[in-house]
Each structure stands twice: as C-alpha cells, then as structure tokens.
C-alpha cells in the first residue's frame, strides 16, 4: 500500500517538475529575446549561427527532399493509376509536400541535426563554465550565446522547409515526367490549378515558422538547463530530439485541423 502511494507521489512530483521546467523555459525565452544587449556585434554572432545552423543543414534537407519527392511521385502514380488519374500526380506531390511533409519532415530532420548539435554545444559550454565566466565578465549569456542561436533557428528552418518543397517537387517531376511518362504539361498545369498560394504555400510556411520556433526553443533550453556533466549533456541531447519531434507532430495535427 505504501509503495502505491509512493508511486502516485512520484508521478505527482514528476508532473510538478515538468510544470516547473516549462515555466523556467518560458522565463528563459523571454529573457533571451527581450531587452537590449551590451555588446555591439550581435549581427556578427547571428551570421555565424545562421551558417552553423542553416547552411550546414542544407545537405541533409536537399537530399531528403529529393528522395521524398521522388518516392511521393512513384507511390502516387501507382495509386492514382487505379483511378485513371495519373495526370494528377503533380498536384498530389505538390500539395502533400507544401501542406504536410515539407514543414514536418524538415522540422524533424532539423531537430535531429541542428537541434541536437545546439543542445550539445550549449550544454558543453555550461559544463566547462564558459557561461558562468561570461556572466562574471558582465555579458549576459542569454543574449550573447542563446539569442543568436534562437534567431538563427527561427530564420533558417522555414527557409529550409521551402527549399525542401521545391527540391521535392522537382524530384517528383523528374520521376513522373522523365521516368513514368506523365505528360509534363499536365504535371505542372494540374499543380498550378490546384495549389493556392495563400491556402497551401503560406499555410505550409506558417507551420514551418511555428515548428522552427518550438524546435529551436526546446533545443536551446535543454542545453542551457542540463546537468553540467557528460551524462547530463547526453541526456539533454536525447531529450531535445524526442521532445522536439513529439511537439512537431502534435502541433502539426492541431495546425492542420485549424488551417485545412
């Protein structure tokens, strides 16, 4: 009986811990983004992070986008063939990518590649007391270290999602038109007729922006909040990937229900 009560208490405590962590992360975000910074070269720092977070993720995004676009065209063709509607494969590929796969897959890949790297980097800076020494010198690590990384994530992930979609559509075109024999005119014309800029492209972009915000926030916070040991850092990195992925998938459902 006692162990049952203990278990319930444990669940309650973990629940409170989660709530406390969420609160901490909110304050953390606010302090990082709001307020002036005391050093001049914030832009330089941002550029450096845009490179580390955005440019270096291009490779995986482009390759994945290409393959996913090609697979979509392939599978889509097989399914549409039964209804005699192979010519609609263009709009299928485009809509699937723009509305769902583009933002979601980009966010998941980003969480795994850039997110985990951010967590590990910041965690290591915490463990080697770099953040503390920065604070002692009088520089707020939230503004100097965290904020540029946050903004870099917010800016680069939506761009990556757009690139993902374009590469995917083009890959789908390669498979559908050059390989499967879909008439090139139909591929693009059907696509243009059914894809609406505000409804599909902008909504997909909005999703990407929301995902970018959530994934980068989680990645950066987990690094900042981790235990300053090697074990703590590895746990934090795992947490980033898991939480960010779950958050993206959950938000995708909510956003899709709201938008479409």
């Amino acid at each position: 009986m006692k162990t049952m009560i203990d278990r319930v208490a444990l669940i309650g405590r973990s629940g409170l811990d989660v709530l406390a962590a969420t609160g901490r992360s909110g304050v953390f975000l606010f302090n990082a983004l709001v307020g002036r910074s005391r050093f001049g070269n914030g832009f330089q720092l941002l550029v450096k992070q845009l490179y580390a977070v955005g440019v270096l993720s291009l490779a995986i995004i482009v390759v994945s986008g290409l393959f996913i676009g090609m697979v979509l065209a392939l599978q889509g063709y097989n399914i549409l063939k039964d209804y005699g509607s192979e010519q609609a494969v263009g709009q299928m590929v485009a809509l699937t990518l723009l509305r769902e796969l583009g933002p979601v897959v980009t966010a998941l890949l980003f969480a795994g590649r850039a997110g985990s790297a951010l967590t590990a980097e910041i965690g290591l800076m915490k463990a080697t007391e770099q953040l503390s020494s920065m604070e002692m010198i009088g520089v707020d690590p939230l503004k100097y270290v965290i904020a540029p990384r946050l903004w870099a994530g917010f800016i680069s992930m939506p761009l990556l999602a757009l690139i993902f979609c374009v590469v995917g559509i083009w890959g789908g075109a390669m498979v559908a038109v050059d390989w499967l024999g879909v008439y090139s005119g139909s591929y693009w014309a059907n696509m243009q007729n059914s894809v609406q800029f505000t409804h599909d492209v902008l909504n997909g972009l909005t999703k990407a922006v929301v995902f970018a915000f959530v994934v980068t926030w989680i990645a950066v916070f987990q690094g900042y909040d981790c235990e300053p040991t090697s074990e703590g850092i590895s746990r934090a990195t795992t947490r980033t990937v898991v939480y960010a992925s779950l958050a993206v998938l959950g938000l995708d459902f909510i956003l899709t229900a709201l938008m479409f």
Partner: protein, 272 residues
Amino acid sequence: MTEFSDYIVELQDVTFRRGDRIIFDRVNIRIPRGKVTAIMGPSGCGKTTFLRLIGAQLRPDGGKILVNGQNIPELGRDALFRAREHMGMLFQSGALFTDLSVFENVAFPLRVHTDLPEDMIRDIVLLKLQAVGLRGAIGLMPDELSGGMKRRVALARAIALDPQLMMYDEPFVGQDPISMGVLVRLIRLLNDALGLTSIVVSHDLTETASIADYIYVVGDTQVLGHGRPDELMNSDNPRIRQFMKGEPDGPVPFHFPASRYMDDLLKGDRKA
C-alpha cells in the same frame, strides 16, 4: 585573530540554501584589502559558492554581501555591470571561450566594458599575456593549449580590466608541480604588483598556506576558524587541527555510518 584596517568584501550573516540543504548558516567573513585571503575547507562544504555569491551569480537567502560598501544582491542590472568591471574570476577549468582565439579571449572583457580602439586593445592584451608568460601563444586557439596554459590565459583575461578583486576557484586542482609553481608565483606576484585583493578558494593546504596572508576555514555550514596561517596551524580547535594537519580521522570521521562490524560479519551471505 588579526584586525585589518580596510575590508573590501564583507559577508554579514549570510545564509544560503540549496533545496532543503543549508549550505551556510549566518556566516560572517571579512576579506582584507590588498591581501591574499584563502577560503579553505573539506570538499563539498560550499567554498565555490562563496565566490558565486560575491560575483552575484547566486543570491543569498539572507544576509548582506558588501563589496566596496555596495550590497551586491540588491544592485540593479546596470550597477551590477559596473561592479563586475572591478572583479575578475578564474574558474577551475579556465573556462576559455572555445570558439575564440587566445587574443580574442583576453580582449573580450575589454570589448565589452570599454570603447578602446583596436590598437590599444592589442597593446593591453599583449601586456596581460606577457604578465602570465604567454605572449607567444597569442594567435593559438584554446584547444591547442595545455591545461596549465589554458588557466594562465584565463588569468590574463581575468585581469584584463585591472580589477580590484581577483577570485580564484580551486586553481591548484590537477596541476603538475611546474604549473602549480607558476600559478602560485603568479597569484602572489599579481596581487602585490597590481595592488589587488585576492580570494583563493582551495582545499590544497600546502600551496595555499604558502601564499595566503589570512585563512578562513569553513565547514559544516559555519566558519570553523580564521587567522594567519601560523595561528591556525597551532589551533586548539580539533576540526581545524584535523584539516590543517591532514589527519584521516577526527571530527570528520573515517568510517561511513554503518551498523556494528560484528553484526555485519555474522549475517553470512546476505548482502545487506
């Protein structure tokens, strides 16, 4: 117990808790200006916490921390920024910024707190690196330095703004004899040459006692005693004596609390 004329740092009735544990209970410490003061004690008693409290990285749960007359925990952001200009801290691992070169590391506080032109910054960086003997390493990256060299660069960075107060967090841990000797010499030299006040937190008795003008021994949430090194060596207090003489058993017991030895042996093959 010596009385000095001028105290740069005063901890008055400072209490600090971490979770449920009390780390300090109404502790009073006074750091005399211009001298090297050591804060020593067994591991885990919270010595490093002192430095973080003085540097305002942590807030005390009670009491005042006066640095040059200002109560640090009550300072606003701008006042704290100005106060930190006069404090330098050397962390245990050096804590150099790994993505910046040695030059950029030492120049960092200068760029943050001053508007000096580039050539002046370069001159000051060269000056500080010369003082720690690493002017030749100016273009290297931190991962190209040995542990001892990293600490010396971090020291150069800490004195870049010519602070009044230098704090050293366990500077002697894990050092080979040569690096240890260099560091010990530098701490004393810089203190006297630059007119600094130094606070050294350490549990390394021999090295610290050799350069300290005054020692505070801390343990068990209290200050166990304080005085000049020779005064403490001949202290009556058994806890201070155990610490200073390095005795394995005494007020800090050798045996971890356990049941009677005979009972344990007679339990046979049971594990607990």
